[in-house]
Amino acid sequence: MASAPTSKYNSHSLENESIKRTSRDGVNRDVGETLPRLPGEIRITDKEVIYICPFNGPIKGRVYITNYRLYLRSLETDSALILDVPLGVISRIEKMGGATSRGENSYGLDITCKDLRNLRFALKQEGHSRRDMFEILTRYAFPLAHSLPIFAFLNEEKFNVDGWTVYNPVEEYRRQGLPNHHWRITFINKCYKLCDTYPALLVVPYRASDEDLRRVATFRSRNRIPATGGGYESDDVYHNAELFFLDIHNIHVMRESLKKVKDIVYPNVEESHWLSSLESTHWLEHIKLVLTGAIQVADRVSSGKSSVVVHCSDGWDRTAQLTSLAMLMLDSFYRSIEGFEILVQKEWISFGHKFASRIGHGDKNHADADRSPIFLQFIDCVWQMSKQFPTAFEFNERFLITILDHLYSCRFGTFLYNCESAREKQKVTERTVSLWSLINSNKDKFKNPFYTKEINRVLYPVASMRHLELWVNYYIRWNPRIKQQQPNPVEQRYMELLALRDEYIKRLDELQLANSAKLSDPSASPSSPSQMMPHVQTHF
């Protein structure tokens, strides 16, 4: 597998990926129109529109709408433009221009997306094409308001790996050496009676009886009792607690900050005042503070052999960020692809980060004050870490971007709903496909070739603005002028060398065979292939 350098890395846009993927999956395509469709995806309508590209100006095209995506293909010969946008990404649809609008292309739709871009289509004023398109889009982009199912429940994709089996709480606790004489497993929350936003299975301090937990629960917001994050030893987590205050702001501040990021990168990137504009968004400052908090937590855990209780008001935003980042710093297992999936599954999904409220899946209320890019901020922190330690993570940037794309797409059930109990009620694991199925059945694409497994390595990123960067490949990926070199030349060269190495090893093996055939005593050969290259590390 090392010999197959990924020939086309291309942009990290969801479009390209799904095109490639669907063709590989043998997905249906409308004959002659090459509209990619997932199993279970139904075509609703198509319209001739002018796509007002913010970079190249108006482009005539045909837009297709299915119950999963908006797909646009240019009708102009000199443009190969294709837009492929899952409807889940849409946060808001607005009509622009009225019956009296005069200017060219001033009548149409303006679509705001959750992934930092806007799509503008100009339509003909006559007929009802705009009204049709608006209604259909609204219906399928915001199914909740129309008593329609989210697409994940209609998706009939099949993968050869089942992503739902990735995370098994008992097994994961066992990997961490739990339960032990400090911590025990409890089924107190079996039917989500104690706390409906916590998972059914919990690890709690050994000496805390179930009765204690019930009593504590009544004092805490929504009955969220303290439970383990990293699972580190402690005698008494509540004793001698040192209170540190982190300057991390609330979810509303984060939402506004991301809006400002969009303002400076879409559609045009600030040029000469780029740095002060970037600073004025405070986005990286928030990243810095989250990382700093996580380092602090991780440092306490690793140096003092003490436990850390991380809490915020509800324990589902800041807590999830800090615990999962600290775990990523301390435990190299979480830096593997599966480890990271487990981390997300456990600390975010299972412990009740309110994905539905924060993202607003299928919900039309774009101004909902509960929405906030908390999970995006976490993924950004992970990206910053992987940038600082480019050999420490098994996954690559594309892995992170794919996770973020499907955070919104509604193609998979992974990020749906606010907590485990709601998910169980909806039978999410039975009725939807897991994002990890997609990723794990095609792992090579998401692997970092430089990954070097170092089991006991603790990673502390430098939480300084000198090292933090705006994640250009994610936030500015729609701008064709800002194109990072893909593939990265160091990576490309490395892949070539890996291929060369494998070829040489093969050739040496062949020579070896030829030699031993000639020699009467095969043991005279001093080195078998495996002895010969004892130092060759397998990077995959």
């Binding site: 000469s272 002060s276 306490r300 003092g304 800002i482």
Partner: protein, 776 residues
């Protein structure tokens, strides 16, 4: 070794010295010997120049030398001037300070600190050790600013001091910061070392007193490599002819020797290139001013030219003469086979030297950080601090200007004439940047070094003044060459496979600006160099002085370290091309250059008149119209050209353009952050992937050798001494520069990123997001 052991970690300056130096007597009997590097022989070289050393210093020197020549490495010709003992060098480590006791010395070449625990350095990452400048050496020219700490207050030190500081803080031009605590040093030694350092680094110097000459005199007999091995020096007519041939410029341009012996002017080199029809007397008329001088020819025949402006004349008759002259020159050049020329007036429409100076002096302060607190205090405001320095914006403007010029040459088929008062600052910068982008030869080590020789050294860039080597005028100190290197770094960073050299190469080149054993950056012009070397040779009635060129990297680095200067990602020219090139002798790789727009021959004859007028206006100093640049049409052409290039996959052996957008212009972290321990990422950064790549290259090579060995002899199996794999361990992200190895894996924590919870009100205001740290 004995002596006062280094104060252990955590020990601050308060700790008194344990013992007077025992080691001081160890070296007894080594009188005058010293450890002399280079080819200096064992005899202490006799100074052959007027020395700054005052008699009492020489006395000190001899007295102390008996005891302490053990670890002081002196170059040939280097003289110890003064020294102080039991100086405590403060080292920042893991955000706590520790100190190392030792001796602080000042020679006529450097300030050096000789620490007592020098042995600790041996197991360090010494792979990249500089043979000339040690970790604790600061050449006198590298000193930027000296501060004294008096009762916790930092003050700039200069001139005669009334009071001596308890701590000396030295900011270096390569951005190192040294803290020397003098609290335990004898008073008279403090006086001597402080005033010595201030005097030798800050007092104006005469050119003849540069260490360059004492070194060259002392090392006269050591074999120097032929500089031509490392670069084309452009000090012969032949070199220019070859360059013309290489770029196919020889049809329209000719190399002239009219300035041999600097008869015409001292500003220009002895040999240079002008348009073929230009007459010698034209060159002489205004001492080489007002005539186009060739820099480089593009594959389509268009050339990059430069011109120094004519003196501004008040006198009407004189200005009439100037006008007639310019008119005539212009007509000579401006008819076929010459393309229309676009004039770029760099003195009026572009950056000013003051802007560059101001920007850099703000910018460098961001990296001259005294302690951890300062680092974290400035962290939140980092981006706006960076922006307010304007340094990155200046880089962007330079790169953009080069792209504009390239667009003219490549897409519009026009000659470009760069105009500047002396044609020796921004002309050098813009012209060499354009060449780096257009000519892949300039992206090889040899080609780049030749380019610097051609455009900067022979182009008469006043290195001596711009680096303020003689401390004669701070006003003249402008880092134009450093700006060029930073622009090149942006290109290297954006397109790594296109360059044969690495960022480390650029970093050590920038450091070499301050090492006065190389002549390259220590003269204002080739004339000045020749005069001074010539005179010296008459005095000493032997061969002329053999000044070293910076391009011989073996002077500074061992072969192993030199490998870090070449880029493993470099995509070499196809083999065939190489052979061909040899055959045709420096053939310019025109076919490799990416043709972007169809070359439309545009003999805009109508344009001619206005152009002439414009040129004349400029030459006469009446820069009324800003013309050309502001034309909308040209801006559109630029956009199209720029976007067009970037929409194609880059061709590393052809035209190379930079990205100019905000997020693409970055801080050259290796140069600027390398000495800041807080900025280190242990085992991280681009170094981590690069070292994996190098490991893989070595492994592939090893396998290759094995296969070959097996093909040749099947018996020789035993002979394969399997070379041990590189155990590179964990390198710092600032490798190869970060010498401070952090010993623990403790995280570097911002000191101001959070605050311990103070008053309750604050908590209420700030929401309830906090972290309990159960400390048990």
């Amino acid at each position: 070794m004995g002596g006062a052991p280094a104060a252990s970690a955590g020990g601050r300056c308060e700790r008194p010295p344990l013992l007077p130096r025992v080691a001081a007597t160890q070296g007894g009997g080594m009188l005058g010997k010293g450890v002399v590097g280079g080819g200096g022989g064992t005899k202490a070289p006799k100074p052959s120049f007027v020395s700054y050393v005052r008699p009492e210093e020489i006395h000190t020197n001899e007295k102390e030398a008996t005891e302490k020549e053990v670890t002081l490495h002196l170059l040939p010709g280097e003289q110890l001037l003064c020294e102080a003992n039991t100086v405590l060098k403060c080292v920042q480590e893991d955000s706590c300070q520790r100190g190392i006791y030792g001796r602080l010395v000042c020679t006529d070449f450097k300030i050096a600190f000789l620490g007592d625990d020098e042995s600790a350095l041996d197991n360090d990452e010494t792979q990249f050790k500089n043979k000339v400048i040690g970790e604790n050496d600061i050449t006198l020219h590298c000193v930027d600013q000296i501060y004294g700490v008096f009762d916790e207050k930092k003050k700039t030190l200069f001139g005669q001091l009334k009071k001596y500081p308890e701590k000396l803080v030295i900011h270096c031009k390569d951005l190192r910061v040294f803290h020397f605590c003098l609290r335990y040093t004898k008073e008279e030694e403090v006086k001597r070392i402080v005033s010595g350092i201030i005097h030798h680094t800050q007092a104006p110097k005469l050119l003849k007193r540069l260490f360059l000459f004492s070194y060259a005199t002392a090392a006269r007999n050591s074999p120097a490599t032929d500089p031509k091995k490392h670069a084309v020096m452009f000090d012969t007519l032949q070199d220019w002819c070859r360059e013309l041939e290489r770029t196919k410029g020889n049809m329209k341009y000719k190399a002239v020797s009219v300035n041999e012996g600097y008869k015409v002017c001292e500003r220009l080199p002895a040999y240079f290139v002008v348009p073929a029809p230009l007459l010698e007397e034209d060159i002489e008329f205004f001492q080489g001013r007002g005539i186009p001088i060739w820099c480089w020819s593009c594959h389509n025949g268009c050339a990059l030219l430069k011109m120094s402006a004519l003196p501004k004349e008040q006198d009407d008759s004189m200005s009439q003469i100037q006008k007639n002259f310019s008119d005539r020159i212009y007509r000579t050049v401006h008819r076929p086979p010459y393309e229309t020329a676009k004039t770029e007036d760099l003195s009026s429409n572009f950056l000013s030297l003051q802007e560059i100076q101001m920007a850099y002096s703000k910018f460098k302060q961001l990296f001259l950080i005294d302690n951890s607190t300062e680092f974290w205090d400035t962290d939140i405001k980092w981006f706006s601090l960076l922006e307010s320095s304007s340094w990155l914006d200046i880089i962007r403007r330079c790169l953009k200007k080069a792209v504009e010029i390239i667009e003219c040459l490549e897409a519009q088929n026009m000659n470009v004439l760069l105009l500047e008062d002396n044609a020796s600052d921004l002309c050098c910068l813009v012209s060499s940047l354009a060449q780096v982008m257009m000519d892949p030869h300039c992206r090889t080590v040899f080609g780049f070094q030749s380019l610097v020789q051609k455009e900067w050294v022979m182009g008469g860039h006043c290195f001596l003044d711009r680096c303020n080597h003689l401390r004669q005028s701070d006003k003249e100190e402008v880092p134009v060459f450093l700006l060029f290197l930073d622009c090149v770094w942006q290109l290297v960073h954006q397109h790594p496979p296109a360059f044969e050299f690495t960022e480390t190469y650029l970093t050590v080149l920038s450091d070499s600006l301050y090492i006065p054993i190389f002549s390259t950056f220590f003269f204002n012009s080739p004339h000045q160099k020749d005069m001074n070397v010539g005179k010296e040779s008459q005095d000493s009635q032997s061969r002329p002085l053999n000044l070293l060129t910076v391009w011989d990297w073996s002077v500074q680095f061992e072969p192993k370290a030199q490998t870090l200067l070449t880029n493993p990602l470099y995509v070499e020219k196809p083999k065939l091309e190489k052979v061909q090139r040899k055959g045709t002798h420096f053939k310019h790789q025109r076919q490799l250059s990416l043709p972007l727009t169809q070359s439309k021959s545009s003999p805009k004859r109508g344009f001619f008149r206005e152009e002439t007028d414009h040129l004349i206006k400029n030459l006469l100093g009446k820069r009324i119209s800003k013309l050309i640049n502001s034309s909308e049409e040209l801006q559109d052409g630029f956009r199209e050209f720029y976007d067009g290039w970037h929409s194609r996959p880059p061709s590393y052996q052809g035209l190379l353009l930079p990205h100019l957008e905000g997020p693409e212009i970055k801080v050259w972290a290796q140069r600027y952050l390398r000495w800041i321990p807080e900025a280190q990422i242990l085992g991280g950064g681009g170094v981590a992937t690069m070292s994996k790549l190098l490991e893989m290259i070595e492994e592939v090579q090893r396998l290759q050798e094995k296969i070959e060995a097996r093909h040749h002899s099947q018996e020789a199996l035993q002979a394969e001494a399997a070379s041990p794999p590189r155990t590179s361990g964990r390198l710092s992200s600032l490798f190869p520069f970060a010498l401070l190895q952090r010993h623990s894996s403790k995280p570097v924590l911002p000191t101001s990123g959070w605050k311990a919870l103070g008053d309750e009100d604050d908590l209420a205001k700030r929401e309830d997001e906090f972290v309990d740290l159960g400390d048990v």
